[in-house]
Subunit: 285 residues, 2 copies
């Protein structure tokens, strides 16, 4: 039996499924304190029977390199009570005989979309999510990118849209991509939540500018064959077409992969990308 | 016997060496038309004896994916006569029994610096070169990043330094990183070549701003453990320290890898990184 855990900043999902990433049974509940959250997840999974492999898709920053001392631990996070908590420690105690595989939530979603979703069959895929924050996971040459810690796509800095002097809302950087284009940035800038803005609101032109520049950075650094843009703030009608149009304009013909009409697409797995990616992590795909 | 070819936009290097990347004999000559350049390189190598493995480090854009129709061909390049020329075709004709391994010149340099240079022992390394253009090669998890085409680091867009309204010199994008911080950009902006500017010239503060923002993008997307900055325009005294100081300022404590005092360093292999990387490509390291 294969199990997955998607540990998000606001909700946690646990599931039993197949090595192909199919969900057989899942439970979604609010993320609270670390011991209670992992305890609840472990108890639910234990009731499902003996588990051999568990994939964990976690919010960050989190240590994902098994060679390093901080492996499996939550690093400095503004989320109260979580800094320093060892996910792997808690799960190894609860499931001493299971193989645990940990990655970031966005890498798990990138893996799921690349294997069984909107980029099925491609080996070079980026997955971006725009919600409370902005994050990105990348599959390059068929392998997830980790690096020295892990990417923090939301904290990229991109050029300002001409005339835009909004200071941004990132507590660290002000006007990084997350500070300018996340859900809280939209709410602070326009005085309304993203889902309350109609599809013709000027906010979306601004979103297209900033997200297209973020994707241009992906093209310049990892050259994805396709970019999937998901998350709550991506769901307004027409946003993906606007981003692609802006991307073609700013790339000025220089990046051949971006000319694919399906270069910037919505996720195919919707809300299930993270947990299904956790199942794929568990199965070692 | 292992051979390497570094095909640059202005000079070509051919060499015989060891699988460990040591140079035994090399020849440097100007890059002219494709048939003459590859013909000269092949003739010199053939005189050295029978060759089993040849590594090729080429300027771009060039097709490096053996699965694709454009493998081994020079893609649309402003360099006259080179667009569409098949490097691999020419070399396979000259050396029908040799194994050919092709990658970008910057990936070859990244590989050499990561194996036997300034980042020896690290598996997550970025190599940036600042000269006539700006390019970057990336080793991630011990493997070179290729992507759908290959990265084009110089065409990244970064925020403008406050008050800077120089339009940039990139014929495609104007003010991309290469348009703002390459050698020709410095010459156009300041009216003097980079090597004529003293180490206290304000040009270097501007260079530090733009290169630090480029490195921040690398941190956000691939999280290197070390970044090597080379090329002719990187050789002024103190530039690496300036870049690192600006990087610490703009990352605002958010990127732990960047806090390493050796995070931004000069190449250890100097002008030899590309050709020694070609030898390592040939040896399959």
């Amino acid at each position: 039996m294969i199990a997955g855990i998607e540990l998000g900043g606001t909700k946690t999902v646990v599931a039993i499924g197949t090595a192909a990433g199919e969900l057989l049974e899942e439970w979604r509940f609010p993320t609270t304190q670390p011991a209670a959250t992992l305890g609840g997840a472990s108890a639910w999974l234990r009731e499902r029977g003996p588990l051999e492999c568990i994939g964990i898709a976690a919010f960050g920053p989190v240590g994902i390199d098994p060679q390093r001392e901080h492996y499996g631990k939550m690093l400095a996070t503004p989320k109260p009570g979580w800094t320093g908590f060892s996910l792997i420690g808690a799960l190894a105690t609860a499931f001493p005989n299971a193989t645990l595989t940990l990655d970031t939530d966005v890498n798990a979603a990138a893996l799921a979309e690349a294997r069984i979703g909107a980029a099925a069959g491609l080996d070079d895929v980026a997955y971006i999510t725009i919600g409370t924050g902005i994050g990105g996971g990348i599959l390059s040459g068929g392998r997830l990118i980790h690096g020295a810690l892990h990417p923090e796509f939301g904290h990229l800095k991109v050029p300002r849209q001409p005339g835009d002097d909004f200071p941004g809302v990132c507590p660290f950087h002000g006007d990084c991509l997350e500070g300018l284009a996340s859900g809280p940035a939209i709410a602070a800038r326009w005085g309304q939540a993203a889902h309350e803005l109609g599809p013709d609101h000027p906010a979306w032109d601004s979103q297209a500018w900033y997200l297209a520049h973020g994707i241009l950075a992906l093209l310049a650094i990892v050259s994805p064959a396709r970019v999937i843009v998901g998350g709550g703030v991506s769901q307004v009608a027409g946003l993906h077409a606007r981003i692609r149009s802006k991307l073609l304009e700013i790339s000025a013909g220089y990046f051949p992969p971006a000319m694919d009409p399906d270069y910037v697409v919505a996720p195919a797995l919707g809300q299930e990308a993270g947990i299904r990616g956790a199942l794929l992590l568990a199965s070692g795909v």
